[in-house]
Every structure is written in structure tokens, then in C-alpha cells.
Amino acid sequence: MRRIVPIGPYHPLQEEPEFFKLIVEGEKVVDLEINIGYNHRGHEFISPTLTWDQVPFLVERICGICSDSHPYAYVLAVEDCAHIEVPPRAQYIRTIIGELERIHSHYLWVGLAGHFIGYNTVWMWVWRYREPLLDLFELIMGNRNHYAINKVGGARRDIKPEDYPKIEKYLDLLEEKNKMFTNAVLDDPVIRARLEGVGVLSLQDAIDYSVTGPTARGSGFATDVRKDDPYDAYDKVDWDEIVFPEGDVLAKAKVRLLECFESVKIVRQCLKNMPDGPIETRVDEIPPGEGIGRHEAPRGEVFHYVRSDGSNMPVRHKVRAPSFMNIASNVVAVKGYSIADAALVLAAVDPCYCCTERTMVFEKGTQKYSGQELLRLSWEKTEKIKRRYRK
């Protein structure tokens, strides 16, 4: 007998409210319907009504977690359109902020994943070390979020030399703690049992659905804009692309954890080689034409396309967030797994967890489970595995 488990549509924390309809037979998920658009704010309509310099502030507010990624991709697009050369110091500053943001976003995910499978210690610990990073953002840019560091032709703020040691101190702390987390999470037999072989997205499906970011790299699909189409300082530093072929939730977690080490490496090298000089070039006008900018956000490739007619506003500005591609791939990734795993699989692409708080299971029109109970369902499964390991 088929039943529908609705997950969504609204949740307060993340920028992408989705509505998943799980179609289940008993415990097993047999199909998935995805509805999006609950938070459609018409950015592509508003953007052509703003000037070139106002748009970064608009697109920054698309996403609260990766609020550096959208303006970054946008300014790259405008610079591509107008063939603007960015001064080296600005390039390094942008790269540093981009990488620090990746760390904080991945930590957010790891913490929530821990919470979801019933490891609240992981959650508290990981977020404990994410917090100083937000303070660091406040120190550098005056804001814990919405940094406004990118502008067409450069960076809006400089990183002061006296702040370098503070950043380096944090990187030391982070590297040490990240080692601990990686070992703790990857060596824990219960976490392994819970994540291994769950929500497998095969390489062929990853290519067909054109997923990006850790979702793709966890499926052996080596796509990373920073390596393939290097921009700013990414081709001037030495780092590795993390790819795992398994395609399950564990592989995606491994990609995210190990990527934090790479980010630390990149930021360290950038700080060491940071050139002196101006942080912006003067941009007088954007000539008619078109430009494409892409940035590797924590969740994958952010794509921006702008078209100019020579006026002070874009004619068309197309925005594509990585989750637009990644969420669609859930249709294949979630099939065949149990409800207790489903929410974890849906979250493995790093959309939002809060939607699970809103989950309800309906049976013949009456509510059977609340969102809290779906969490409980997941925690019970972890407990079951834990007991098996204790014996």
C-alpha cells in the first residue's frame, strides 16, 4: 500500500524551502516528488532595476549561509563582460573569504548531520569551533554574515596586516580540531553503519542530473570550478581536489570534512603570499556584451550570467544556485531507502534540515507522526545500531 509522507514546505533556517513528498510502501521510499518555489522572491526581475554596484547587495541576500558566493559569482560575471583586471591583492582577499566561508558552511552541515543521526555531541562540538570563525568575519568585515566584500573590480575591504595572526591562530585551532572530528566521525562504527551505503547517487546519475560540489565529488564526478576554471588566486596556490567514488552519504561527509583541510591550506598560502597594492580598480562603465561568472560555493558551482546594453543596469541577470541542480538528484538518491534514512539522504546534498521539523506522516487523513517523531525515528535507528555494536 502506498502512502505519502510530506516533508515541508516551510522551514525557518535556510534560504531554500522545499517540499518533498515521499511516496512510501511500508517503510520503503519508492518515489519522490519535489515542489519548490515557496520562497520565490523574483531576484531575476529585481536585478535589472538596480545599478551594477547595487546588485551585489541584492544577490548577497539570496542565501544566508553562503552569502559570499553569489556576489562573488556576480562580480566575476561583470568582470568577464567588461574584461576588467582585478588587482592581485583584491584577488587574494576574495579567495580567503571564499575559503573561510566554505569552512563555516561545511561545519554547519556536519553539525546538523550529527544532530540528525542522534549524535548531539558532534553537533555541539562542531558548532563550538564554527563560532570563532564568525567572530573572525566580524573582525575582518564588520559583520558575522553578509560580508559585502565583493565589488566589481576588486574588494570592498582590506584585511589589515595586524589581523593576519588572528586568522592564522584560528586556522591552527581549526586544523587540530578538524583532525579530531574527522577521526572521530570516520572511525565511529555506528556513524559508519548509519551513513555507509545510504542514499547512493551513482556516477551516471550524477552526470545526468549535472550535480555540482560535494554531491558530485562524493559520487566520483570530479568537478570543481576552482580547479577547472581557476579564477582569482586559486591557480596561484597549491591544493588538492577531494573526490570519493562511493556516492553515499558517508562519501559526501568525507568530502566536506577533508575539504576543510584544503581550505586551511589555501588560506594559509594566501596569507603568506599576500601582495601589497590597491584593492580595487576604477570601473567607469560596463560596455554592451555578456559575461559568465562562476564560483565554487560550499554546495557547488554558483552560476551567474549578465547581459549589458551599455547602461548603468544589467539587462538580464541569471542566477543559478548549486542546490537547483543538487536537489533534483534526490529523486534517484532516495529511492529504495527507509523513511528513517530518507531525511538524512535528502539533507546530504546540504539543503536544509529544519524541513524535517515540519514533517508529518498522514494516515487516512489523520496525523500519525510529527516532525519531532521523524527525528526520533532516525535516532532510534542509530540506537539500534549502537546496541548491536555493544554486544
Binding site: 532595476t49 545526468d208 549535472s210 577547472d228 576554471d229 559568465i292 552560476f303 538580464r316 543559478r320
Partner: protein, 159 residues
């Protein structure tokens, strides 16, 4: 083969296979290929299936000549964008859907359909993606005429 040579070889092959295509190289890694609407399907399939490009997204733009659609394909090995450009005349807003070989195009075709009113023939489920359920089906918010009609909306904050 070197990255750059590979990226160039594809362009040469496109020139041979699709004589109607006009290629414009905007930057070393940004290429725009303009083709008539009927050739888009074959060219997209060639890039995606034969050359291993990744589908990034498609952009729909309302222009004077018609609705312009740009399919952004990227070759990850070379970091190069191949943008297939096509203009569909307004009196016949129809183009063949890419979903038969490219599931990733499913959502964006629904989006372009609801925002610009382009019909994708062969799409399995061409229902609105982003707009509300109550949104009228013949009102296309990204069209120029919509923006003109709602000028009050457009210029409100620029007092």
C-alpha cells in the same frame, strides 16, 4: 591532448557538423555558439553525450527578435563554457525539449516555460515550477511587456 587543444578541437568539429552555427569567442574560456532553434537539440546532445560536457543551466531572455535561450554547457576538463544561443520567434514559441537525454534540464525548462512562455515540446511534465498556484497561466513575468505594465513596481525605490 592538451586542454586548450581539446577545447579548440570541439569548436572545429562543431563547425564541420553544424554549418549554420556562428561561433563567437568572448574570452579564452567563454564561447558562444549561435544556431537556429531546430539545431539546438542535436548540438546539445553532441556536447553532452559525445563530448562529456556538463549542463550548467539555461537562460531565457526576452529580446526584440524573439525569446532568446542560451544553454550553458561547460567542459570541466578544459574549464570552457560552450553556450548554445538560439532565438525563437515570438509567433511560434516552440523548441524541442532536452529532457529525453538530459534529466537536469527538466526544472529549468519548466522555469522558462512559466516565466517567458516558451513551449518545450516533448517535456514530460511542463507545470509551473516557481510561481504560486494562483498565478495566471498567460502572464509571463520576465517578458518586457510585463515589466512595462508594472512600471510602478519597477521604479518604486528609485525616488
Amino acid at each position: 591532448m592538451m586542454k586548450k587543444e581539446y577545447a579548440k578541437a570541439i569548436l572545429e568539429e562543431i563547425g564541420k557538423k553544424f554549418p549554420d552555427a556562428t561561433v563567437k569567442i568572448h574570452a579564452p574560456r567563454r564561447t558562444y555558439i549561435k544556431v537556429p532553434p531546430k539545431e539546438v537539440f542535436a548540438l546539445a546532445k553532441f556536447l553532452f553525450k559525445d563530448k562529456g560536457c556538463r549542463f550548467s543551466i539555461a537562460t531565457g531572455i526576452d529580446t526584440r527578435e524573439g525569446i532568446e535561450i542560451i544553454y550553458h554547457f561547460t567542459l570541466d576538463e578544459a574549464g570552457t563554457y560552450y553556450n548554445i544561443k538560439t532565438v525563437i520567434p515570438k509567433h511560434e514559441l516552440k523548441i524541442k525539449s532536452l529532457t529525453s537525454f538530459l534529466p537536469a534540464a527538466n526544472w529549468i525548462e519548466r522555469e522558462i516555460h512559466e516565466l517567458l512562455g516558451v513551449d518545450f515540446t516533448g517535456h514530460p511534465n511542463l507545470i509551473p515550477l516557481l510561481t504560486a498556484e494562483t498565478w495566471p497561466s498567460d502572464l509571463y513575468p520576465l517578458r518586457r511587456d510585463y515589466a512595462d505594465e508594472h512600471k510602478s513596481l519597477k521604479t518604486k525605490k528609485k525616488a
